[in-house]
Symmetry: C2
């Protein structure tokens, strides 16, 4: 009676849940509407109408609206997180074998490359998922806390360790701040959260992923590598 899949983001090997065509259509429609209108403002009837399926199908394939939201998110998040980990593993392997230097830019690129690949691949959600991710961050959805915090926390720990090795003269507290600030830029830049635009047109075409990377990486690398407390803050 109930085909409800287990909704862990990824437990061990590759428990990637396979969805039926109807379920996939629901996920696709929901993904687009959630990012455009928000979770609360999107009704199941809008989703099923856009997906061309019956209303009850969403409660059949998924358990509830909240569970659907979780599934929408988990479907995209897990592969992307795996890719980030692969980048970090590759970097550390290359550093260990002397084939690469562990500098700030190398760490930054371990995040930029998966985000760039994701942004350019519509079959994995493309930029839509990145925007959904940023909404989740700001809106603080409770239902994703447990699902996310474990995997995400692991990733953060890895990035933090790598950046700490790239910035050996900084205290661990300062490394944490650099990571916090640097990831803030990268994350919101990929999500297209253009504060300068704010409903108007911007001087910056902030939606082309390659352009974003081109201008963003030097900015982030310079910020992360800034001299420790070169100047007092409040002048």
């Amino acid at each position: 009676m109930e085909p409800v899949k287990s909704s862990s983001v990824s437990s061990d090997a590759h428990p990637e849940p396979k969805y039926s065509e109807t379920a996939t259509r629901i996920l696709d429609a929901a993904e687009g509407l959630f990012v455009e209108l928000g979770l609360e403002a999107t009704s199941l009837r809008q989703i099923t109408q856009q997906a061309g399926v019956n209303l009850a199908a969403v409660n059949y394939h998924f358990r509830s609206k909240d569970a659907l939201f979780e599934a929408v998110f988990a479907r995209r998040f897990a592969p992307w997180a795996r890719e980030c980990l692969c980048e970090l593993d590759a970097l550390e392997a290359n550093v260990a074998s002397g084939k690469a230097a562990l500098d700030v830019e190398a760490v930054v690129m371990c995040y930029v490359r998966p985000a760039l690949a994701l942004s350019k691949d519509p079959s994995r959600g493309g930029a839509v998922f990145v925007r959904l991710f940023s909404r989740v961050l700001v809106e603080n959805h409770r239902q994703l806390r447990e699902t996310l915090s474990r995997e995400w926390g692991h990733l953060v720990t890895r990035y933090s360790a790598a950046l700490g090795r790239a910035l050996p003269r900084l205290s661990s507290e300062e490394v944490a701040w650099r990571l916090h600030l640097g990831f803030s830029v990268m994350f919101h830049a990929f999500a297209g959260n253009d504060i300068l635009k704010l409903f108007g047109r911007s001087a910056v075409s902030a939606r082309d992923p390659d352009l974003i990377v081109k201008h963003m990486v030097p900015f982030v690398v310079a910020g992360m590598s800034a001299a420790a407390n070169g100047k007092p803050a409040a002048g």
Copy 2:
């Protein structure tokens, strides 16, 4: 019959609308709930209950839920925008009279000082409003487009011109990108959007405004002042 105030953010001089005590209590309650739950997820009944007023009062003092949201936002935004403009005016006056140098940090501080003052002043919404602002940015609320775009656009033009003078060797397109990226960090840092935390605990106590400024300003100044395309992006 209808005490509905004009809801322009600020037309000319100081048309600061004065609200009755009931209306103020509604605004305060709505502000907190909107930022905590989001616009759609917050019901008028929650607002009026927390404010200790009757349900119909919100449709009497304001016209509708959307108009209330606009009023909540406008009440905080206008004074803050004025403060930003004052900072820019003061900087340019000091530069003109030779009392100050127009460097990147000076421009950054023209944004940081008002944001810091606002964050530390609960009587003007404090950090709550900054978080509301960031929700508005990400959620792309239609009802604020017209209200905001004019004033905000003016502010952006001023900051852009100032930064352009502080970075004379950069093209105007690159200046726009620096402004975009720098404001992204500052804005989300003040809003407390901690991507590293993401529901878990963070290594960074990202909610103390003074600490934020201390670590953020060197980061942003270094990023904005980075050498133009010092390194190719994708390796």
